[in-house]
Amino acid sequence: MVEFKRFTFNNGLKLIVHQDNTTPLIAVNVLYDIGARDEDPDRTGFAHLFEHLMFEGSVNVSEYDSQLQFAGGENNAFTTNDITNYYLTIPKQNIETALWLESDRMLELAFSQEKLDIQKNVVSEEYRQSYLNQPYGDVWALLRSLVYKVHPYQWPTIGKSIDHVTNATLDQVKEFFFKYYRPNNAILVLAGDIEPERAFELVNKWFGDIPSGSENKRKLPVEPGQSDPRRQVVERDVPFNEIYVAFPTGKRLEQDFYTSDLLTDILAGGSSARLMENLVKKRKIFSEANAWITGSIDKGFLAIMGKLHNNQSMKLAEELIWEEINGLKHNLVPENELQKVKNKLEASNTFAKAGILSKAMNLAYYELLGDADILNSQNEKYFSVQPSHLQNAANEIFTLSKSSVLEYHSGSKK
């Protein structure tokens, strides 16, 4: 049980405090309710580029990182399709420095053309390093654009193309900041050796006078139900073929999330899972296989992947994946096998509560979903799933007409 206190300030900022006296550190997590899904289709990659700019100085502090390092802190951040999340840990004695820095960059950034240009280059190199110059680096982008035709989940956080990032202007950056980086669009979490009342006082001091922004009502296009199978075949300079089969699933907060998560664990959650046992070990068609759900706030998708051995055909690989899928549709998962994946999730949910940083991030994310306390009820959600639920979900999710297949062929010369 992760206990916490919640406060809401007049400017709309939400604060969650979790006291943990076993550590000399405090974790600070600032979640902004803005992700790649909120981007203009012609200006993708913006949320992530902006994440970089948040480290380039604010109105009263020229160097965020130096000041934090001065106080013995360490930080990082990430952007997803749903959120942008900033986090740090700092010796508890210096917590005010962290609040000073985080509040100042929420107050206002020190916008500069020069810094924008440099970070455009950095992000372009990141794009090359993580996506273009990596074998199979474009798989996620391809899958997204195959599964989503309307919803902005169709592009990855890095953006559709480098051009979108390099074309960003300083005016767009400013507009974005004042629209999304406001206290009413943020959730602040403090986890560590601090009294909740003391945390409230300090946060009120540093964040209390930051003006709130206008309310952002999301009006994202809804992805229409898929009625025909989709397929994309690409050829790349990679050594082996890979196959991906994807299906639309539900939203993060629906019960469907837990059943589909368990389905992917039955398929691939550990060395004894079905894809590993049957397709990697027995049939020896794949060198590796996996299955996962995206778990996004809006409707996500479930994907199954296999890395083919050289002498194996794509057609057979797809058939064998469907054989596994049909097993889930036609037969109940044995109780013992279901208990296995539940136990695994119970363990990983407990491991997630072991450190202050992980707790801080999770509390922030669940608060965004509606209530930080959801963190404490995850096990029950998984435990309540029965074999019949899994079979129903399998029949619901795994239909040919809703499938998207990505054939990733090796085009290299042997």
Partner: protein, 427 residues
């Protein structure tokens, strides 16, 4: 009462004076294995690990240590791999195997309530593995595929070939994995490595987390059911360093969009009295986000997503390296900047503000690196491997308090001269 913040002036900082070590409780298991226990943590989680004091350095054939360690769970005298995998998964744990150059670690993290059944299977796979032929075949085939994908990555090529340049192609630290290495390993090689090295006489056990009071009793009750077959190890060849004489080396990959660079040299390890200062100097140069290399090459010039430097501590030879992936069109400029920074490091004393920032950052990092029983356990393993004790950390904290800009210049002059570096570019 509302207190208006002063946003211009940074809040006062407090210095961190000391770190609380979770001093391990030491004992010996019934099978003679020394055990170190560190209690703590807010959840009922236990980490159980056995570290064997040999790795790929001791192997007779490439991949021998790696395959032996990874196939421990592929079948025992009484259980097939499917059954073993089922057990791990059922109790929500994953067997973690880490086969390194100097050590092999085998362990798991579990909920306290599942410890007993997991210990049973853990000791069984360690003492009675059979290494079935078909499992070895599948393992090698799948790993070969992974290897062939890695070979397409410039950063992978830079890493392995840089070690080759530093240690020589025949040295166990420098030997580069080849495709046909996956075709030459046999079951007997695994059996031999297991009998010679993966046994109680060569092992140390670590337990960390919220373990019960009677943990030793609990472990012994299980451990006593299993005995190790051990044979004396063959004499391990000693290897001499055959570091290359050429300073600039290139592997060309025409289609790469970025080049991976490595610049570095063999260097003193953790047991040398200058090591703490070298470590501090390395951090200033490239060991944190605010380092010289990051500020210059990423934050001022935008040439790369990241550049860093590090000291790799191996038992029989440490090395230093600077590494990055850089856009091809700016690679020359970036490398020039790296050498410039190395020169500045030894020639120009750092400003007081930079020294103070480094001291505070490193003290905070030190505190973080001891946060909780699992981090504490990592630190303990490091000192034990190098035959050190907690005074090593105390002396590090002392150095952090004392060092000044001249110390950095002197250390850089002694160990990190730009003309002493070996350079490798891939891409």
């Amino acid at each position: 009462m509302y207190q208006k913040p002063d946003r211009i002036q940074a809040p006062d900082l407090k210095t961190i004076e000391s770190v609380n070590y979770i001093v391990p409780e030491k004992n010996t298991l019934i099978n003679g294995i020394p055990v170190f226990m560190q209690k703590g943590g807010s959840q009922d989680i236990i980490k159980f690990e056995i570290v064997f004091k040999s790795g790929s350095y001791q192997q007779q054939k490439t991949l021998q240590a790696f395959a032996t360690a990874n196939l421990l769970s592929s079948g025992t005298v009484s259980k097939r791999s499917e059954e073993i995998n089922q057990l791990w998964d059922f109790f929500g744990a994953t067997l973690q195997v880490d086969a390194q150059k100097d050590i092999i670690s085998v362990g798991f993290v579990s909920l306290a309530k599942h410890l007993e059944p997991l210990l049973n299977i853990f000791f069984e796979i360690l003492t009675m593995p059979v290494f079935p032929d078909d499992e070895l075949e599948i393992f090698l085939k799948n790993r070969k595929q992974k290897f062939l994908v890695n070979k397409r990555k410039v950063q992978y090529l830079a890493r392995v070939h840089f070690a080759e340049l530093l240690f020589g192609p025949d040295h166990p630290y420098g030997k580069v994995l080849q495709e046909n290495d996956f075709d030459n390993l046999e079951r007997v090689d695994l059996v031999a490595y297991h009998e010679e090295y993966l046994h109680s006489g060569n092992a140390v056990c670590f337990i960390a987390g919220n373990y019960p009071e009677n943990i030793i009793e609990q472990v012994n009750k299980i451990a006593e059911k299993f005995t190790w077959k051990k044979v004396p190890p063959k004499v391990v060849k000693s290897f001499s360093l055959q570091s290359t004489k050429t300073s600039e080396n290139k592997i060309v990959k025409d289609q790469a969009l970025q080049s991976a660079i490595r610049i570095g040299k063999p260097i003193i390890n953790r047991n040398h009295p200058d090591f703490h200062l070298l470590s501090v100097t390395n951090t200033l140069l490239g060991g944190y986000f605010g380092s010289r290399l990051m500020r210059n090459i990423r934050q001022d010039k935008g040439f790369t997503y990241g550049i860093n430097s590090a000291i790799v501590n191996l038992l029989r030879g440490a090395y230093f390296f600077i590494g990055s992936q850089i856009g091809k069109h700016v690679k020359e400029q970036a490398v020039e900047e790296v050498y410039k920074e190395l020169k500045i490091l030894r020639m120009q004393p750092a400003a007081d503000s930079e020294i103070l920032m480094l001291k505070n950052y490193l003290t905070g990092s030190f505190l973080r690196s001891f946060d909780g029983p699992f981090m504490q356990n990592e630190r303990l393993k490091e000192i034990l491997l190098f035959n050190q004790d907690y005074s090593w950390f105390d002396s590090y904290l002392e150095i952090l308090k004392k060092f000044n800009a001249e110390d950095i210049c002197r250390t850089a002059e002694k160990y990190l001269r730009e003309d002493s570096m070996i350079e490798l570019t891939v891409g």
